[in-house]
Structure formats: C-alpha cells, structure tokens
C-alpha cells in the first residue's frame, strides 16, 4: 500500500504539532474512552495489532480487552452485538476493516441501527459509531478501495460523516462518538498517513456543517473526504486561468448543510460536485438535484459532477483513470458555460 501525502493546507498555525490522520483518529478514540467509560471499541484486529491501519493502536493495552475487543471475524455479528451493547448503555465504536467488508453487516445497519430510535419512538437510542476506512488511491486490490457512502446516505436514521483534515478527523470522530445516534464515520484511507497541523480540539464545526476551505467568486467545488485535496489543487490550478474558485468541504453528508451549499452556489452561480464513488446514484446526484431545486434561477450553468465511472472499482494499475483528477475537475469547470460571462473566460485546453 502506498502512502499519499497530504500537504498541510488547513490552519497552518505554527504552534501546532503535525500529525497524521490515523494518529489523530487514534487520539480521538483514546480521549473518548478516557472521558467516558461507556465507550467501547470492537472489531477485527483492533486489539494487539491496533487495526490494520493502526487507528486503534495501544487502546487494548491502555483500556483492557473489555474496552477494546478483538471480535470473531463476522461483521453482522460485530455490528449486531454493538447494537445490543447500546441497549445496555454502552457507546460502541465499531471498526469495519475495509468499506466493502461492511456489506455483510448491511442488514444490521439498515434494518436495525438506522431504525431503532424511530421504531421505539425515541425510547431506545443507539449511540453507535461505525468507522469505515473508504475510498481508493492506495493501490488496493479488489474490495479494498470502495466508496459506499451513497448506500448509507440513502438510509434514513444514519448520520454519515467524513473528515478531510486531521483536525476534523479528531473533532468529528469525538462528536460522532458523543452523538446519541448511529454515525457512519467514513475515513478516507488515502489520507491516513499524510501529516497536517493538529490541534487535538473539540472545537471544530458540528456534524451537519460544511466548511469553506477556500473562498472564491466564480464557481464552487463541492466535495468531501478523499477528494478535498483534488479540489483544492484544482482551484489553485484554475487561478492562473482567471477563475476564482471556492472549495466547500461537506464533512457531513447526513445531515447535509443545504444552507452553506446554497449560499455558495447563489454567490457563484456555478457548481461542480466531486467524489470518488460511482456517479450514478451517488451523493453528487442528490447534491446536484437539490441545488437545482433550490437555486435554479441563480445557476448560470447546470451543476456538473466529477465522479468515479459507473464501473466496479478498478485494479491498482488502472485506478488513476477512474478517480477524479485535477484535470477532470478543471475540465468540468471549463464546461460551466462561461461564454456569456462578463470578461469571458476560456478554459479550452485546460
């Protein structure tokens, strides 16, 4: 597995230490467990090994096997017993080893986790966090690079959250664990290893809030998780072409921050949604549809999408052709019908 570096674009405050996302997540787990005895971690290889990505490193040593537990190899069993633990007042954090390996637990997630509060009229809450390493770009073989967020966002009752920065990894995971609802916490695998300044603070915007990672007047790139970097690079690359492009990091897919999305779209009149997952029926479709419903008259061009193709995730040697790239996002920007624009912009050949 190759490590993809992340440049520290966000809040480069000199007093902060640098840390990788994997370590920030580890810190979030550790701090949550220390703060609240009801927090339990369970999953495959989360104990002695510390998880295959080392996110649970040292937790069993520090908190004991009952608090950080290597389970048998059975995802429905893991999620199902976590649900039962919730019924007894625990606040479990479940690790799914890879995105695709959460699929055997799909029934437990959709049939139970998502519905429990509603079916009991609020009598039973499930303060459950399901951590899912997702996305590609790490040279993983079949079943190791999937992005299943659309399945989860379409399931009422689940929160779906995904950090793109080290600070958000920490802050959002702590919020997710503190939440009284099930949160599917999607961790962009390819960002695990890159270091960024790390504040280890709870003071990040709440779940449900998007954050403008870069302001811009001409168009907005709407994205999340692993694609934030691509969008920031694209915005940078568009500058010399005369375009001032904003980048919005959604952070939370459910709830979705309609307010901020619409504000940016109304201001810029042009939007591109970017994500790795298959485009057809992906999260980008929902975002594009609701922008159009809400901001139709402010749109200078249709909302475009840059996403993975409608194909199974490709093998390592071909994944670069599948993933949204700076070129593809630039190309989408170029297709945003700039002709009528005062000053005129030509992105041809961009």
């Amino acid at each position: 597995m190759t490590s993809v570096q992340t440049s520290p674009r966000v809040r480069p405050a000199p007093e902060d230490v640098e840390e990788s996302m994997a370590r920030a997540l580890n810190a979030a787990l550790r701090d949550s467990m220390a703060a609240d005895r009801s927090v339990h971690v369970l999953g495959e290889d989360v104990g002695a090994l510390g998880g295959v990505f080392r996110v649970t490193d040292g937790l069993t040593a520090e908190f004991g096997e009952d608090r950080c537990t290597d389970t048998p190899l059975a995802e429905a069993g893991i999620l199902g017993s976590a649900i039962g633990m919730c019924l007894y007042g625990a606040r479990p954090v479940v690790e799914m080893q890879f995105d695709a390996f959460a699929h055997p637990a799909f029934e437990q997630l959709v049939g139970h986790a998502a519905k429990m509060r509603n079916r009991t009229r609020g009598a039973v809450s499930l303060p459950l966090t399901v951590r899912v390493p997702y996305g590609g770009g790490i040279g993983g073989v079949e079943h190791h690079s999937d992005s299943s967020e659309a399945y989860y966002t379409h399931t009422p009752g689940l929160h779906v959250v995904t950090p793109a920065t080290v600070d958000d990894a920490y802050g959002l995971l702590r919020q997710a664990i503190a939440s009284d609802d099930p949160v599917v916490f999607l961790e962009p695998k390819r960002l695990y290893w890159g270091k960024q300044p790390f504040r280890r603070t709870l003071d990040v915007p709440p779940i449900g809030r998007a954050v403008v990672r870069r302001p811009g007047r001409d168009a907005v790139l709407i994205t999340y998780g692993p694609s934030l970097e691509v969008c920031l690079e694209t915005a940078e690359a568009a500058k010399p072409l005369g375009l001032d492009v904003a980048v919005l990091d959604l952070r939370s897919l459910v709830p979705l921050d309609d307010e901020t999305i619409c504000e940016l779209v109304r201001r810029t009149g042009r939007a591109v949604v970017v994500h790795e997952a298959t485009g057809f029926g992906g999260v980008g479709a929902e975002i594009a549809a609701r922008i159009t419903e809400r901001c139709f008259h402010q749109l200078e061009a249709p909302v475009l999408r840059v996403t993975g193709f409608d194909i199974p995730y490709p093998p390592p040697k071909l994944e670069s052709h599948h993933l949204p790239s700076v070129d593809r996002v630039l190309d989408a920007l170029a297709r945003l019908q700039w002709d009528g624009r005062p000053g005129g912009v030509s992105l041809a050949g961009a």
């Binding site: 059975a74 069993g77 199902g80 017993s81 976590a82 007894y88 009991t120 009229r121 609802d181």
Partner: protein, 369 residues
C-alpha cells in the same frame, strides 16, 4: 508442542456439549411428581391465559383490529416458560411470534400488539420493560441479545438475556454469528429455538440435515439441550436451569424446543398447501395446555375451582384486550419525523413543514362547506 496447542485454547469437553437425541420430558416421567405444586399451578394459569390470548388476538384480526397475527397457539408452553424463567432484571428478545411471552413478562398487551395493529413499530419502552422490540428480520436480533448480555457481564451486572428464534431462523448467518460470539464471550444468554416444524411452508427436513437443532450448539462450544416444547414443566425446568447457569457465569445454552404451530403461519397463510390435517390433529393431541391439565387432574394438583378461576382470569384479560383494541388508536402523522434522529435534521424539519401544511389544507378543505 502438539498441534492442538496451536491455539492456546482450553477446548471444551466435547461430550459435555453433545445434546441428547431424546428431548427432555417431565410430564411423562415419574419425576414430574416431585415438582413444586405452586409452580405447576402458576404454569397452568399462564397456559390458560396464553391460550385465551392467542384466541383473542386471532379474533381481533378477523375483526380488522390487527393487521396481522402470527399465532403461538400450540406453542404456549414455550412462551410461558420463556417469560417465567427470567428474573426482573433480565432481558427478553422476542420475534413477531412471541407476543405472548412479552405479555407474560408484564408488558401491556395493547402496547405489545402495536406493531401488529399497525399504528407504530414498537408500542412499549424496551428499557422500562427489558423487552427488545419484536423482531421481524429473522435471527437478526440474536446478536443484539449477545451484545446486551456481554455488556452486562462486562459491567459486572447480574443480567441474563433470553433470545427466541424459530427453526427456520437457525439457518440465517446471524444465528451463527450470534452463537459464535456468545460462545467466545461466554455471554449470559439463552437461545430458545421454538422448533415448530415449519418455516412458513418449509419443513425442517428442507431446513437442515442436522441431527437436531440443539446439535448446532456443539460448533460454538455452547451447551445444547433438546426439550419437549409442549411439556410445560420440562420447558420451565430446562430454561430455568439454563438461565441459572448463564447467571452463574456458566455461559450460553442453546435450547431446542420441539413444538408445533397449530394455526397457520399468520392469518394470511394457507397452511393446507403444505401440511395435512392428520398431522395437525396429531399435534393437537400433544397440546401443552391439555397435557398439563390432564397431569394435574390425574395427580390431584388441580380442582375445578382453580380451573374456573384460571379461565375467568383469562376471560377478563381477553375482555379487557378486546375493549381496548376496539378503540381506534390516535395516530400522529407529524410524529413520523420526531424520532428518526435525536434532533431532526434541517431536511426533516422542512418535510415536517410540508406535511403540516398539507394536513392543515386538508382540515381547511374538510371544514369548508
């Protein structure tokens, strides 16, 4: 180093796990005479009540007061024993077919039937009643029972979970994962398989080739017991022992109760398509209520006064249930949005507004001449 040291496992003694091929029976053995008369009478009363409850609920479907009713007629000994074997602090994990055991755990029958009446998904508070919601997707609640029992054990609390499942449900992957977790965690949980011979239309022979369903315990290092599910004292004895063992840290037990679903799968089912009247009749003769009544009458443990008293109590329950179920429940459309999350999302608030406006228009529309 021997090969079996491989795993550093203290492997359980196989012989201790292997269930008998013959079900535990009490009513047909002399040992029955030793049973505590009070317990037997309690069992009898609950069986009478249970039968009446099944009849009443079945009638309520015909009267359009329930959307559907999966009857446990013929399985009352299992239902009663499951409820009685538990202490107050214990938890029950029932399926759609186990409303009787829920009622006998003390949950209000009307609240128990909420799901089947169709006004909401669950009518009672699981925390207050220590009864999980009636589970429809088969076997998916078994890991919940294991997780709860495990959490209680880790907390050092004295809590046992009893999870009910059908013969068909044992084929689901979740059954396997739950039993395996229970074995590894030595969780205080009792799995009760009500083997009523069919999963809707599918007979056990097409469900599994296992010698008995109790034998499935072996593969999880879990104790398995086969019991005559229409023998109420045997049921109560086996479950009480299993619960006590779990409570004492002795780990999980898988109990297979051989019983029979005398009614169709639900009112919507046509059981004549897949089983003969002769088969049903043969099983009626093993009726758990009649058997206990007969035994008690033969051994002098029951008099007509007690019988009438039990029936009268059952009648009162049925009358009360009937009356209350004939009151159309108030449903609150806006409540659809209240509990999807602890706090409604902005999107749900918008949708709530939309429905509110629609409902107000309707009201206006209706109130105009």
């Amino acid at each position: 180093m021997t090969l079996t040291e491989n795993t550093a496992l203290v492997r359980p003694d196989t012989a201790a796990l292997l269930p008998d091929n013959d079900p535990v029976r009490v009513l047909e053995t002399p040992a029955a005479a030793d049973l505590d008369p009070e317990d037997l009478l309690r069992l009898y009363r609950e069986l009478v009540l249970g039968r009446r409850y099944n009849e009443q609920a079945t009638a309520l479907v015909k009267q359009g007061r329930l959307a559907v009713y999966p009857s446990s007629t013929g399985q009352e000994a299992c239902q009663v024993a499951a409820a009685l074997a538990l202490s107050t602090q214990d938890w029950l994990f029932p399926t759609y077919r186990d409303t009787l055991s829920v009622v006998l755990r003390g949950v209000d029958p009307v609240q128990t039937l909420t799901l089947l009446r169709g006004d909401w998904h669950t009518g009672y508070d699981p925390h207050a009643t220590r009864v999980a919601p009636l589970c429809t997707p088969l076997a998916t609640h078994l890991p919940h029972a294991v997780g709860l029992a495990h959490a209680a054990r880790v907390a050092g609390d004295d809590v046992v979970a009893m999870a009910l499942v059908g013969d068909g449900g044992t084929s689901e992957g979740d059954f396997h994962e739950a039993l395996n977790f229970a074995g590894v965690w030595c969780a205080p949980v009792v799995f009760l398989v009500q083997n009523n011979g069919y999963a809707i239309s599918v007979p056990l022979a097409k469900q599994t080739a296992a010698p008995t369903l109790a034998h499935k315990a072996v593969g999880y290092g879990v104790r398995g017991v086969l019991v005559d599910g229409n023998d109420a004292p045997a049921m109560l004895g086996v479950l009480t022992e299993a619960v006590a063992r779990a409570r004492a840290g002795g780990g999980p037990t898988l109990v297979e109760a051989l019983t029979y679903r005398v009614d169709a799968h639900t009112n919507a089912d046509d059981a004549t398509r897949y089983r003969s009247t002769a088969e049903v009749e043969a099983w009626r003769e093993r009726d758990p209520l009649a058997r206990l009544e007969r035994h008690l009458l033969e051994t002098g443990g029951l008099d007509t006064g007690t019988i009438e008293e039990a029936r009268a109590a059952a009648e009162r329950m049925a009358a009360d249930l009937r009356t209350r179920m004939h009151v159309e429940p108030a449903v609150a459309p806006l409540g659809l949005f209240d509990h999807v999350y602890a706090e409604p999302t902005p999107q749900l608030l918008e949708q709530r507004e939309f429905l509110l406006a629609e409902l107000s228009e309707d009201v206006e529309g209706n109130s105009s001449p």
